[in-house]
């Protein structure tokens, strides 16, 4: 069983050139940075806010803040990590505004009943995603990840969907590396547990609720 392959590669020198040009006032260079990362920022924002309208606002506000503060970007981290930090903060602010009754914090340690101990250990069918139509699969994946606490969901999205390293995710979320690692393990195991209801070999996919 091999390791999973990372999605994003190292930053290219092309990115550094664009950042330098944008800092010097070249708006077309900044626009290229927007094109490079807008899909990622939108996905992250949707995952955190779970609301399309909020995600659209977050994309605009994150890029606007990045643009206005380019002068403060020192280049010690990747531009993308810096941008993600801005976007995560914007998205959390939206979430807090929308759900004032529930404190939303990335610092809280959440204990849940379905913590890190796997209970469902039945094997999945060989190509579980093929048991469902594209639309059904999207619905299952969306519903499943929405059920995770926001602090787990955010770590999972940055690490496993967007391909940030543990160190980059820690920097973007202003969390310690052990906190990122512990949340990622719990997020992965909880998602696995929940998806097993749909992809379990014995179920054949048609009796899952």
């Amino acid at each position: 069983m091999g390791a999973i392959q990372p999605k994003l590669g190292e930053p290219t020198s092309e990115e550094l050139v664009l950042v330098q040009a944008a800092k010097a006032g070249d708006d077309s260079a900044f626009e290229q940075l927007v094109r490079r990362y807008d899909r990622n920022v939108f996905r992250i924002a949707q995952h955190i806010t779970q609301n399309r309208e909020d995600a659209e606002d977050v994309v605009q506000e994150a890029f606007l803040k990045a643009y206005g503060n380019l002068g403060q970007f020192q280049g010690q981290s990747k531009f993308y990590t810096w941008l993600v930090r801005i976007a995560v903060n914007e998205a959390l602010m939206k979430l807090r505004r929308r759900r004032p009754e529930r404190m939303v914090s990335l610092d809280e340690e959440i204990k849940t009943d379905e913590d890190s101990v796997p209970r469902e250990v039945a094997d999945w069918s060989p190509n579980p995603e093929q048991q469902y139509s594209q639309a059904e699969l999207r619905e299952i994946l969306t519903k499943t990840i929405q059920g995770l606490p926001s602090s787990f969901r955010t770590v999972f999205v940055l690490r496993d969907v967007e391909g940030l390293s543990t160190e980059e995710a820690a920097e973007a979320l202003e969390l310690s590396i052990p906190a990122v690692k512990s949340r990622l393990l719990r997020a992965r195991l909880q998602l696995r547990e929940r998806l097993s209801r749909y992809f379990n070999k014995a179920q054949g996919g048609d009796t899952a609720q």
């Binding site: 069983m1 390791a3 999973i4 999605k7 708006d27 900044f30 626009e31 927007v34 094109r35 807008d38 899909r39 939108f42 996905r43 949707q46 995952h47 995600a55 659209e56 994309v59 605009q60 890029f63 606007l64 803040k65 643009y67 206005g68 503060n69 002068g71 403060q72 801005i86 903060n89 890190s116 101990v117 796997p118 250990v121 039945a122 094997d123 999945w124 579980p128 995603e129 594209q134 699969l137 999207r138 994946l141 969306t142 990840i145 999972f156 496993d160 969907v161 391909g163 543990t166 690692k181 990622l184 393990l185 992965r188 195991l189 998602l191 696995r192 998806l195 097993s196 992809f199």
Partner: protein, 85 residues
């Protein structure tokens, strides 16, 4: 190695950030513990399914609209100065 110990190392194993000796111990455990094998395999599939999924893709028409709004706001913000991050 106990199953709980295997689980503690699961992320490092999947992310390929372990030394050869630990990897050999984990693979030895996987060879005889079916439950851990299934948990490991299905966790890997979970990650791959989400990574390859197309949930929350940005539609092209919305993308164009957002670009235009972002660049317009950026240009007008030049006059009003930087915002706090």
């Amino acid at each position: 190695m106990k199953c709980s110990e295997f689980l503690q190392e699961l992320n490092n194993y999947l992310d390929d950030v372990i030394d050869d000796r630990t990897r050999a111990e984990l693979e030895d455990h996987l060879a005889w513990c079916h439950n851990c094998y299934v948990v490991c395999d299905t966790t890997k599939k979970t990650i791959e399914i989400y990574r390859d999924s197309e949930i929350y893709e940005l539609p092209e028409d919305l993308r164009t609209r957002l670009h235009s709004a972002i660049m317009t706001k950026c240009q007008s913000s030049k006059k009003s100065g930087p915002q706090k991050v």
